[in-house]
């Protein structure tokens, strides 16, 4: 028994040459010239198959050259040419400027069913060559892609990329009489069908899916005799050809990371909506997204903004800023050149409310950094505070703490309506208290002003600047005033005197991601 016998058998039951080669385990590069490859395998495909066995099928074959029991005509040149033509004619394909491309193929279950029938038949006929456990063929999808990809790449002048960072061309095929042909399956494993009928919701109301078929139906997981009783082995010659149902074209999901500074005390990080009403016109996320989305040909509403934590509406975020990522689905471009990133940074800078730096595309895997930064990183804050008595050296000494300590914070009242009541222990690594140098000159001046006007109540000698380094998740405002004793110890309890917070800035978020890139000068030069 030789490969030739297998070929003749397959040819006899109505397999096309490409499918025969698949069952002969043809290597990947063989499919670009099937005839030549068959010759290499020692098969003379032009000699008519052994008469005793293949005669009835061969006759049927002649009626329709393109038809095949396995691929249902998918590999016929008329079908493949039609697919390519439709891809190239698609309006969508021209919208995408990405430089790489990838195809995906979705085939009806019937193709899997027919493969199973051929598998069962081959096992019986050629037990030395085929087994119940190893797949008998080279996957039909892989072969379709192998044939189509080079042609698509050449025509579109793009390169093939398997990591989904380019255009995805999704080909959906259907078979007109599929449900009819699947019916006998119900007899092979009635319990399976019964389960799916009993709990339709669990299975999304689908009687069969490709995944379920492949899980439950293969020669090692079913009674082959029962199968052969209900389903034709080898498969009967098909009446209809596989049809291209639709083509969808998607761009890749691109991730753009960067760091933002928030420079306004009246700007929320994300749209702030209370009782269905917008509280503020703008937000950090919207300002960033609207300046980035267009480049990628995407609607701003479809872009997802996430960041390593957030600050309150009235808190600024300065220094190197806070890391953020934009998830841009269906992007028309995969690459963000530095010059384009620099322009985006420059435009955002002009708002004077938000500033962004280090804009760059990142890989999906890198997104974990941002969530880690939210939980276990140190944060540096600067709090502008006011006391009820003039600041003394003794007070400042109490407010310079280099010894780490822990504070117990009960969920602040301001978030209590939407967060569980809990006591959180947070580490305070360092506190540095300072006073403004200019205070005393200003004070004298203000004193003079005060003499003339009672309305001016500025007395800066009650002002303290606190630089605080804490564990992420510490509520700083509450740490300062103690929130009626609900945060303990607090700065207020440490100094044993009244203190309140007037303004707060985030100074540093201890997360060195994304890497620094100098787009800004790149664009202005």
């Amino acid at each position: 028994m030789s490969k030739s016998d297998i070929f003749n058998y397959l040819n006899g039951i109505g397999c096309c040459n490409t499918c025969s080669l698949r069952y002969l385990n043809g290597r990947f590069n063989n499919y670009l010239n099937v005839e030549k490859s068959l010759l290499v395998h020692g098969i003379d495909f032009e000699t008519p198959p052994n008469k005793s066995e293949g005669e009835p099928s061969a006759k049927r074959l002649k009626q329709n050259e393109d038809m095949c029991v396995a691929c249902l005509g998918l590999f016929s040149s008329s079908c493949l040419d039609n697919v390519l033509e439709q891809v190239f004619q698609s309006r969508d394909i021209k919208l995408y400027e990405n430089e790489t491309v990838l195809t995906s193929v979705s085939l009806p279950i019937i193709v899997s069913l027919r493969r199973l029938s051929i598998w069962v038949a081959l096992n019986e006929k050629f037990p030395k060559y085929f087994s119940s456990t190893d797949p008998p063929d080279v996957s039909i999808k892989d072969v379709v892609k192998l044939i189509l990809n080079p042609k698509i790449c050449e025509k579109l002048n793009k390169t093939l990329e398997l990591n989904q960072s380019g255009i995805m061309i999704n080909l959906f095929f259907e078979y007109p009489e599929e449900s009819e042909e699947l019916k006998p399956l119900w007899e092979v494993k009635p319990e399976l069908i019964a389960e799916r009928c009993a709990t339709p919701r669990k299975f999304n109301r689908e009687m069969m899916t490709r995944a379920a078929f492949e899980k439950h139906f293969n020669p090692s997981k079913m009674n082959v005799h029962t199968y052969a009783k209900h389903v034709p082995v080898p498969p009967t010659f098909p009446k209809k050809q596989l049809k291209l149902d639709k083509i969808t074209i998607n761009g890749p999901t691109v991730f753009v990371a960067g760091r933002y500074r928030k420079l306004s005390r009246s700007l929320s990080q994300t749209p702030w909506i209370l009782k269905g009403k917008r509280m503020m016109e703008e937000s950090v996320s919207e300002i960033i997204v609207e300046n980035v989305a267009e480049f990628f040909g995407v609607c701003p509403e479809n872009v997802i903004f996430s960041s390593s934590g957030r600050e309150d509406v009235d808190v600024r975020c300065l220094g190197k800023g806070r890391p953020f990522v934009l998830e841009i689905p269906d992007a028309r471009k995969s690459v963000l050149p530095q010059s384009a990133a620099g322009v985006m940074e420059a435009v955002v800078e002009k708002t004077h409310k938000v500033s962004i730096r280090n804009l760059q595309t990142v890989k999906r895997e890198e997104l974990t950094h941002i969530k880690q930064g939210e939980e276990n990183k140190k944060k540096a804050y600067r709090a502008l505070c006011v006391t009820n008595k003039p600041v003394t050296v003794e007070l400042l000494k109490k407010l310079n703490i280099s010894q780490e300590f822990t504070t117990d914070q009960i969920t602040p009242v301001r978030v209590l309506h939407r967060r569980p009541l809990r006591i959180r222990q947070r580490k305070i690594y360092q506190i540095k208290g300072a006073i403004s140098k200019g205070d005393y000159i200003i004070q004298v001046m203000l004193f003079v002003v005060k003499l003339f006007s009672h309305s001016c109540g500025v007395d800066d000698h009650r002002m303290i600047i606190l630089d605080i380094i804490t564990e992420a998740g510490t509520y700083i405002k509450e740490l300062v005033h103690g929130e009626f004793g609900r945060t303990s110890p607090s700065i207020c309890s440490i100094i044993g005197q009244w203190i309140d917070i007037v303004a707060l800035d985030v100074m540093k978020i201890d997360l060195e991601w994304p890497p620094e890139v100098n787009n800004f000068t790149h664009c202005s030069s």
């Binding site: 050296v393 310079n400 967060r419």
Partner: protein, 189 residues
């Protein structure tokens, strides 16, 4: 000797669009409103069965509807002198309250007249501190047991935190006496 000049603040330079970013010092306001004034609205509650004595309660309602219930400064207990605060109101100890999750499951449900604590004065008289609002009991201020003097401090002296249902928030405010009305009634004395 350490001097004030040792603590002078030095600010790093921060640029935005080529311009210097305003210093945090510019935001200073020595007369910045207190925490209570910034985030809360004062409401008052008067017991309907109250005799001649003033038993007014103060309710601080946060902008997110969370209520901090305590005594109004005019409450008779302050004049008499406060000895102790107890959350064991007889049949139940309010400290046993537990709530879990965002929705505060398992919290004790309170009616306006439900007692949340009992205050004992130096002369031995006792007054019930009531919830004033309908809602869930979130926490009681156990620090008052050690330091009953806190009761007189607005904010720090809260006795209990209640969370009304969102749909009841407006009705609750209407059932209480607003600060304006309360002051006009001269009840603050």
């Amino acid at each position: 000797m350490t001097e004030l000049s040792d603590f002078y603040f030095e600010e790093e330079k921060e640029l935005v669009d080529g311009l210097k970013c305003p210093s945090i010092l510019c935001d200073f306001d020595a007369n910045c409103p207190s925490v209570v004034d910034r985030y809360y609205t004062r409401y008052y509650y008067r017991k309907s069965d109250s005799t001649q004595e003033n038993e007014d309660h103060l309710i601080l309602i946060h902008s997110n509807r969370v209520c901090l219930v305590g005594l109004a400064p005019s409450h008779i207990a302050f004049a008499k002198g406060i000895q102790s605060v107890d959350f064991n109101i007889g049949n139940i100890d309010r400290r046993q309250n537990h709530c879990s999750g965002k929705s505060k499951k398992g919290a004790m449900n309170l009616q306006p007249s439900s007692a949340v604590a009992i205050v004992t004065c130096t002369d031995g008289t006792q007054y019930k501190i009531v919830a004033c609002v309908t809602g869930k009991l979130i926490e009681v201020n156990e620090r008052l047991m050690k330091n009953p003097g806190l009761l007189a401090k607005e904010g720090d002296g809260y006795v209990a935190i209640c969370l009304p249902k969102i749909e009841n928030a407006d009705v609750i405010k209407q059932s209480l006496i607003s600060e304006e009305l309360y002051k006009s009634q001269g009840a603050a004395n």
